[in-house]
């Protein structure tokens, strides 16, 4: 009893520190004179940042960027989810792939691949069109708001799909059937019945994409900054990145707006998802909806889906791999193939900073995910199995960081770490990563815990196993699938982490994404692509190893010691 009762408060302290500390430090920092004058009260930072004449433009950009991305992502996701759940479109397995695989491709690499295709000076598509039509100027530029919106929309498409597809699958077909019985066409039914009933889910997806694009740093930095289009995240970055004039007080003051907007949106999102669940529960009767026959539109529509999957999954990897092999940007041709070499790869492997970033990212991925999963196991245990008021507090705390934009959390942590010896060490990154991505570990583990019947634990207690013995021999082995997916989610997030790292990383603690970002700033596309492909390899290797270890552990437990 005493062990168990000590567990909840200590977890509340740990998780509370991880999630609340950056926010508190952000607030205090925004009222302080500077990193080395923490606690000297001043309002100057607010006055300075909110009287900045550029801020109005930045906010307008942010609004257009986030809402635009939300429209693109939600529209595409709705289109895909409808085709998948309600029509007889062929090759449905492709939809599962579309909804999962793009999450494996780091956002910065996805953004870079679009820069490589559509930048105005030497984007591959632009070069190609200029050659063919003999144009003097590039027809497209990715460095624009529409370009940012397109790429961010595609990046957030999987998340929107994961919200909309279950909502559509649970939709009560009788509502549509009765509309058709009344004489309405398929299209009219879709517009008049289906979409209005799905409104809460559509709005939820819309808002979640807004939150994600508000927190997004890869697209605004790689695509927006070269085109001098700044949004809140890049504005904050600009304030702290300009060498000697870095002002973390102003960054914190601006960050407060991003944080506030994000928290409000997340609460709206939570409200809407509970609403949409209410909608869904009215109906489910295990009844499979009749599929709409697309007839002649079947293959053209599938063509669109095929193109989307190509663009989302294969194109970025192909473009990066191609770029890593050619000496400078050129359209694929016989000449290009003859010039191909591993030069960029060799250069990266000889570059001490790139190698250090590989080492650091692998360390953070492996150690961070392991520590994060251990913490998630205890937190999820308390949330699902202990179920006191205190564990309810723990649950709210541990999902809080979902609503914080990464760069803002980074600035908050900066204020904290500067006051401690952890500043500029790899440990500061580790703590920041775990704080920001804790929900990625807790989600799969809470669902795993829910599936373990309390009798399985209780019979272990009665058989003489104490709390920790029971955890080790009964609970954890049954949790292994959840542990493995939590570990994989965290490790892949950590290996690619950019937003937080760009604030916290210092010389000596470079990580992969930051190094890629530096290459992008310097226009070293060949080296960038080589390092990017290595990054994808590293993530994939971690995923494979984790799955194998998980399978092995499960087998050992089943077959006995």
């Amino acid at each position: 009893m005493s062990k168990r009762s000590a567990l909840t408060p200590s977890l509340i302290i740990i998780v509370g520190f991880l999630t609340v500390c950056p926010v508190v430090m952000l607030v205090l920092g925004s009222f302080s004179e500077g990193l080395d004058a923490f606690g000297n009260f001043t309002l100057d930072k607010y006055i300075q940042s909110y009287t900045n004449p550029e801020l109005a433009d930045i906010i307008i950009n942010t609004v257009i960027f986030t809402i635009g991305s939300a429209i693109v992502a939600t529209f595409l996701a709705l289109f895909l989810a409808y085709l998948n759940t309600r029509t007889n479109i062929p090759f449905k397995f492709l939809f599962r792939i579309i909804s999962i695989i793009p999450m494996m491709i780091p956002h910065i690499l996805f953004s870079v691949s679009w820069v490589l295709l559509l930048n105005p000076s030497n984007g591959l598509i632009n070069l190609f069109l200029r050659q063919i039509f003999n144009l003097a100027d590039s027809p497209f530029s990715i460095y624009t708001l529409p370009g940012m919106i397109l790429v961010e929309g595609l990046l957030d498409l999987p998340i929107a799909y994961l919200i909309l597809a279950p909502a559509l699958a649970a939709f009560d077909v009788a509502l549509e059937e009765s509309s058709k019985v009344c004489g309405a066409s398929n299209l009219r039914t879709l517009v008049k019945v289906t979409l209005p009933v799905l409104r809460p889910a559509i709005l939820a997806s819309f808002i979640l994409v807004i939150v994600r694009s508000l927190a997004s740093f890869a697209v605004p930095s790689v695509i927006g900054m070269p085109g001098r289009i700044y949004v809140l995240a890049t504005h904050i970055y600009q304030i702290i990145a300009t060498g000697f004039a870095a002002d973390y007080g102003m960054a914190a003051a601006v960050g407060m707006s991003a944080l506030a907007a994000s928290i409000v949106l997340i609460y709206l999102y939570r409200y809407l998802t509970s609403e949409s669940e209410k909608f869904v529960t009215i109906s489910s009767r295990g009844y499979r909806p009749a599929l709409i026959d697309l007839k002649k539109a079947k293959y053209p529509l599938f063509g669109i889906v095929g193109i989307l999957s190509f663009v989302l999954i294969l194109l970025p990897v192909l473009v990066l791999f191609y770029t890593s092999l050619v000496p400078y940007s050129m359209v694929p041709s016989a000449k290009a193939f003859s010039l191909m070499s591993w030069k960029n790869w060799v250069a990266v492997l000889k570059d001490p900073i790139s190698l250090l970033s590989v080492k650091n990212s692998v360390f953070l991925g492996v150690v961070g995910a392991t520590v994060g999963v251990i913490l998630s196991v205890f937190v999820s245990y308390v949330i699902v199995k202990v179920r006191t008021t205190a564990s309810g507090i723990l649950e709210s705390l541990s999902f809080l960081s979902f609503s914080f934009p990464g760069i803002v959390v980074g600035v908050g942590f900066m204020w904290f770490f500067v006051q401690t010896p952890l500043y500029a060490t790899i440990w500061s990154l580790l703590i920041g990563y775990i704080a920001t991505y804790l929900p990625y570990g807790i989600r799969p583990l809470t669902s795993a815990f829910i599936q373990i019947h309390s009798h399985l634990e209780e019979s272990s207690r009665v058989s003489g196993g104490g709390t920790f013995y029971t955890l080790r021999r009964v609970v954890i082995p049954l949790l292994i699938p959840g542990i493995v997916s939590g570990w994989i989610l965290m490790a892949t997030m950590y290996v690619r982490e950019l937003t937080l790292s760009v604030v916290l990383s210092r010389p000596g603690t470079e990580v992969l994404a930051v190094q890629i970002f530096r290459f992008a700033e310097d226009g070293l596309w060949g080296k960038l692509s080589a390092l990017g492909i290595m990054m994808i390899f590293i993530s994939t290797a971690l995923v494979v190893i984790a799955s194998l270890v998980g399978a092995k552990l499960t087998r050992v437990q089943t077959e006995g010691e």
Binding site: S459, V462, S463, L478
Partner: protein
């Protein structure tokens, strides 16, 4: 080992309301008996079991097992379940799906740090005892319901506990298997001479399995006795009604004669088993079990407690006829041999032995 429970209470809170799951329970469970807690769902029987084993923390009272206090509010004692040295068979069996049969059964010995050789021998012996020898390497997920139930039993038996607790262990088996397992369980438990506390809501299970039954209702112990006592001699209306099918006839005690208590009831004066403690004039209920009502077409000569009625329904259920006979405004449920020939609408005479007429307190 004897289990003593003193003034035990346990409250739950549901939607802001306090619910007394256990209300001041006093109970002594004698050593080396099969002791059953019987009652309708929500009566607190499972809560009581879970308090004994240590999975619930009671709010007040005291529990001692074999003289050792495992819980006491006043002395601030609470022994964790793993330290009580008991065994329990769960309703869901709680077989760990990630282990094979051997590891499931060996588990309680492993927690007690038993040497490996000894574990192997004991597990083998126990699996033989429950007739599962050779199943050691079978994954737990590849077992039928009955086999899972035996694994759960083997796991409970293997540490040779002094007390085993059963929480409705047969309720997940189909009817035929349930009957077989019940007989088997009774023979296992009587051979082992250990204290078994058994929770069920099934009266037939309770009657056929137990040495002693405690009937529970609303968080309290209503009555404790042997199965026969409870079935035939209970003076409580709730118990008599719950333990078996019963005709309950309202009436008033008229007088006591040498051998019987006579009750004036809706169907006339009934000579009942003597209850000298109930004064004449007291309002009572008379309980007559359907199987003790004799039915005949002709008027039975020299029989006590006879009346005439009309056959309301008569249903053939295989081993007997079940029917209803109406006498005035009262309908009596009867159970008679399937060979008896009468049909709905017939006039029939019924009679019953005073020994099988029990006077219940109202």
């Amino acid at each position: 080992m004897e289990i003593r429970i003193r003034k035990l209470s346990k409250y739950f809170f549901s939607e802001g309301k306090q619910i007394k799951a256990l209300d001041n329970v006093d109970l002594v469970i004698p050593a080396n008996q099969i002791f059953t807690l019987l009652g309708p769902s929500g009566c607190g029987k499972t809560t009581l079991l879970r308090c004994i084993v240590g999975l619930e923390l009671p709010d007040t009272g005291e529990i001692s097992i074999g003289g050792d206090i495992v819980y006491s509010k006043e002395k601030n004692v609470f022994l964790a379940p793993e330290k009580r040295g008991l065994s329990m068979v769960f309703q869901t069996y709680a077989i760990w799906p990630h282990m094979n049969v051997f590891n499931n059964v060996a588990y309680p010995l492993q927690t007690r740090k038993t040497p490996k050789e000894e574990i192997r021998n004991k597990v083998k012996k126990t699996l033989e005892f429950v007739q599962l020898d050779g199943f050691e390497n079978r994954p737990a997920t590849k077992l039928s319901g009955g086999q899972q139930q035996r694994v759960a039993l083997a796991r409970a038996l293997v540490p040779e506990p002094k007390v085993i607790l059963f929480d409705e262990p047969l309720s997940n088996l189909d009817a035929k298997l349930r009957e077989e397992t019940r007989k088997e369980l009774r023979s296992f438990l009587t051979r082992l001479k250990i204290t078994a506390v058994y929770v069920t809501h099934d009266r037939i299970e309770a009657l056929s399995l137990s040495d002693t039954i405690a009937v529970m209702r609303g968080g309290r112990i209503t009555e404790v006795g042997t199965p026969k006592d409870i079935y035939f001699n209970s003076s409580k209306k709730f118990v008599a009604d719950f333990i078996g099918r019963a005709n309950l006839i309202e009436g008033k005690v008229a007088r006591h004669d040498d051998h019987h208590t006579v009750v004036d009831s809706q169907i006339g004066a009934l000579a009942c088993k003597k209850r000298p403690d109930v004064p004449p004039g007291a309002a009572v209920t008379v309980c007559i079990r359907p199987e003790f009502i004799r039915v005949s077409a002709a008027f039975p000569e020299d029989a006590p407690n006879t009346c005439r009625g009309r056959v309301e329904s008569m249903v053939f259920v295989g081993d007997s006829y079940e029917g209803e006979i109406r006498i005035g405004n009262t309908c009596l449920v009867i159970q008679i041999e399937p060979t008896f020939g009468c049909k709905e609408g017939d006039t029939a005479h019924i009679s019953f032995d005073p020994q099988h007429c029990t006077v219940l307190n109202r």
